[in-house]
């Protein structure tokens, strides 16, 4: 890859340091210089808070998904033990950084890093990720960076309070169940209200009362008058299928205590905060990698760093964006850093050095201002649409993508398309689909509650390409059952055809019914 010339020619500077040891002064100086260059590239960021931590603290941060504060739960302990074990046995290195979508944007730097690594991390996290957090539409819509830390503190205190009052076990049970459903605690299509700790606190008691009233209203057993009684029988509840299962349970489960509802809400809100991150992994990492690469090269062009520094940087960089081929033993799926970095780099190339092919495939991009193009791409897409929109034939050729079709009923895989002219569109579509959250996760919705009968909750799973649910499904349903308090049913449909049914508690059927059902499902 060629090193591009800096946007403005300046007199060369002396290197900031030639030592590989970092000091606080050097970190500040690098941050100042990198920050200035970043502003030339129009990177708009939250203020940065760089925190130097030890490797043990990094493991702590790892196991709490990078959150500086979090409520206590055994699963984080499990995560910690796993990280610790892998790290101590040398199976994995720790990440060089963790960055948190908050304002100020908190970035953790490990004390073991060399100066070159610290500079790389500053460029990557404090200017790359940070500008992504601040400007991508999903983050803007779904998260409130200024409020998250306060909210986490509120959550931690609230959970601790519940543990004191109701016992660790009782709280843990509810949290376990919520965690099992946390991917189903998000409104995918409805814009949520941003979370705010002060408001949560102020409203929390009021909400408890209000929520309980609503639940009471829903579940009252004494009909007001005849008319209503008949009308209620005919009305389906919920009137439309609900995708946000946790929300539905929080608002409607008949037997939950107010504090239990609040716990559900906490898990839901935190899941919502992470929702954009799950949808923008390729873009986010690609953007950060592109910018650390560009910023570091600019540093070098202007003389702020020397060759030794660049060698170290480039070796780390190429390790980060290395993509093992599908048949390598190191292969574990597509490396989001590589894919994202390649797409952003190629976007810049298409703007600056367009080829015939680019004009044909990307008439809106080829030859345009590269900064405008990149910023637009970063701000307005998520992984799925980003790949759909910007994955160029050149990147597909470089990464040698190919498309494998796997049908359960066929004895062989079929190679559907490869990185050639007839295949580009197909590969791109398939890859974009792979990053579509709604196909990656089973589509499960609440369809019915038997309001006047046994109060059972019915969920429907709509199969995509007839892909069934995994084995854990039964266990998840037990968690749903714990929260809902009454029978839970899950039906898995392929189109209109009912493929499989699950029930918790397991359904007892009569001899007749059983044989009938067997015929129907097998």
């Amino acid at each position: 890859m060629t090193i591009n010339p800096p946007p403005q020619l300046e007199s060369r500077h002396e290197p900031i340091t030639t030592s590989s040891e970092w000091t606080f002064e050097y970190i500040q100086e690098f941050d100042r210089v990198i920050g200035n260059i970043a502003r030339e590239y129009r990177l708009d960021t939250y203020p940065n808070q760089i925190e130097i931590i030890s490797s043990e603290q990094m493991m702590d941060a790892y196991s709490s998904v990078g959150m500086p504060v979090g409520y206590h739960h055994w699963s984080f302990g499990k995560q910690f033990l796993q990280t610790q074990g892998n790290y101590e046995r040398g199976f994995m290195g720790l990440a060089y950084e963790i960055v948190i979508n908050s304002s100020p944007c908190i970035a953790y730097l490990m004390e073991e890093n060399t100066m070159a690594m610290q500079a790389l991390v500053i460029a990557h996290a404090c200017y790359g990720h940070n500008s992504f957090f601040k400007n991508n539409y999903l983050f803007k819509t779904w998260t409130d960076a200024t409020a998250i830390i306060d909210y986490l503190v509120f959550a931690k205190d609230y959970v601790a309070k519940c543990e004191n009052r109701y016992g660790v076990d009782a709280v843990e049970k509810i949290l376990d169940s919520c965690h099992a459903l946390q991917n189903y605690g998000v409104d995918r299509y409805k814009r949520p209200s941003p979370i705010s700790a002060s408001e949560e606190l102020a409203r929390q008691e009021e909400r408890e009362v209000h929520m309980q009233q609503q639940v009471n209203l829903l579940w009252r057993t004494i009909p007001n008058n005849k008319e209503e009684q008949t009308s209620q029988h005919s009305v389906r509840f919920p009137q439309e299928p609900q995708e946000n299962i946790l929300y539905f349970i929080e608002k409607n489960a008949p037997l939950l205590e107010p504090w239990q509802r609040e716990l559900i809400r906490i898990v839901r809100k935190i899941a919502q905060y992470f929702y954009p991150q799950r949808q923008t992994q390729v873009m986010n990492e690609g953007w950060a990698s592109f910018w650390h690469y560009t910023l570091m090269n600019t540093l070098y062009d202007r003389g702020y760093v020397n060759e030794g520094f660049m060698f170290e940087f480039l070796s780390s960089h190429s390790a980060v964006v290395y993509q093992p081929p599908y048949d390598s033993k190191y292969y574990s799926g597509i490396n989001p850093y590589t894919l994202g970095f390649n797409i952003f780099s190629d976007l810049r190339r298409m703007c600056e050095n367009p080829t015939e092919e680019d004009f044909q495939w990307f008439p809106d991009v080829a030859g345009q201002d590269w900064l405008d193009t990149l910023h637009f791409a970063m701000e307005n897409f998520k992984d799925e649409s980003f790949i759909q929109q910007y994955l160029s034939p050149k990147v597909m050729r470089d990464m040698k993508f190919f498309c494998v079709y796997d049908d359960e009923e066929e004895p062989e895989y079929q190679i559907q398309a490869i990185h050639d002219d007839p295949g580009y569109v197909k590969v791109r579509m398939a890859l974009a689909e792979q990053y579509n959250l709604s196909t990656r996760e089973p589509n499960i919705q609440v369809v019915n509650v038997d309001l006047r009968g046994d109060r059972s909750l019915t969920l429907n799973h709509t199969r995509h390409n007839n892909v069934p649910l995994n084995k854990e499904c039964d266990n998840v349903l037990k968690h749903v059952h714990r929260l809902w308090g009454f029978d839970v049913h899950l039906h898995s449909y392929d189109g209109d055809e009912l493929k499989q049914s699950y029930s918790v508690p397991a359904k007892l059927v009569t001899q007749d019914g059983q044989s009938e059902e067997n015929l129907k499902y097998v």
Binding site: Q28, G35, N48, Q49, I50, E51, I52, I53, S54, Q57, M59, S64, H72, H73, W74, S75, F76, G77, K78, Q79, F80, L81, Q84, G85, P104, V168, A180, L181, Y184, Q323, P324, P325, D327, S332, G333, K400, F401, F402, V404, Y405, D406, D407, E408, P411, Y413, I415, A417, I418, G423, Q434, N465, N466, V467, P468, N470, K471, E472, C473, N475, V476
Partner: protein
Amino acid sequence: MINTYVVDRRLNGKNKSAVNRKRFLERYKKHIKRAVGDAVTKRSITDMEHGESISIPADDIKEPIFGHGPGGKRTIVNPGNKEFVAGDKVAKPRGGSGQGSGTGQASDSGEGLDEFTFTITQDEFLEFLFEDLALPNLVRKELKSMDDFVYRHAGYTSTGVPAKINVVRSLKNAHARRIALSGKSRRKLQQTKLLIEAEESKDLALKNSKLLEELYAEKLRLETKIGRLPFIDDFDLRYNHSMKEAVPSNAAVMFCLMDVSGSMTQATKDIAKRFYLLLYMFLRRNYEKIEVVFIRHHTSAKEVDEEEFFYSRETGGTIVSSALRKMDEIVKERYPASAWNIYAAQASDGDNWNDDSPICQKILEKDLLPKVQYFSYIEITPRDHQALWYAYENVRATHSNSFAMEQIVDQSDIFPVFRQLFQRKVL
């Protein structure tokens, strides 16, 4: 515009995950205990001083979430194509239809690990090992003499050794003394100074030079007087004072008795060694002050150190009573029952001179059992019991509170028997 803050968080402590880690251990206690139990039977004797790697079946600790199972139709994009062209067919890898469904899929969930493995520290290892165990019938003995005092801080004294001088207190005293003793002189000095000043400011003609001279002499005298006060004096010194405070005795002595005669095979000795080792570590953990006496015997008994007890070889016949006598001697000599909690554990393969077994019973019942808190006997043999066992059964019948016996056949029995012998008893 500077909008970056650099914070050094390294001082914040690293144990943020401690609570979560503890919760995890608590939750999977059963699994961990089982693993710890297995580890004890497998570990070598000298190898108790470190933690343990614990494995739990991954399925047991999985947090379930909805996900796709194998099957159906799917399209997967992979990188690094080498030879494929569109339309190629590739045989699915054998062994389960689910196996082949996309390498990309498996990585997301990190599946494929059968065991979840992590390490617990030595402390935790022992904690799990010894949980619910306590030495039986622990009685707080009378307050013992010198040994059982702790020194507690108790103010200051005016006498003491130089090592205990309290500098701040001493200097405070010195300062106060200097102020007190020089008060009168300083007041006079002040007056003299004023007088000198008044005299000096007068016209030259009016000055009384004689008076002035006297005043100067007075001033000098007062100043030297003040100067003569010592900066620090003996009686300024204060010393930290400590008082002895009696604490209840928590001292125990453990007698380990083992048969090392020719009839004990290496395997039997090995088992016995493990049993003691467990015991020894258990004691170390439960008592602040533990003494352990090792007595080994064949036809005659000998007190030995730990090293020799576990590692030297002997041959010969077996007279068990020799060991019991030896123990009784040592108790009389060094461990009066009024001051020590005495425990004894004996291991043997059950062999003894037939004539000797009744003598053993007698020594136990008459001399030892009244003194000891607990006497445990383990017989390591797969064979039928011999005279010693039956003699001991008689002892158990009459002293069930302070005497216990169990049989061990192989290594895996050690831990259960150990637990049984030392189960927490309600007093």
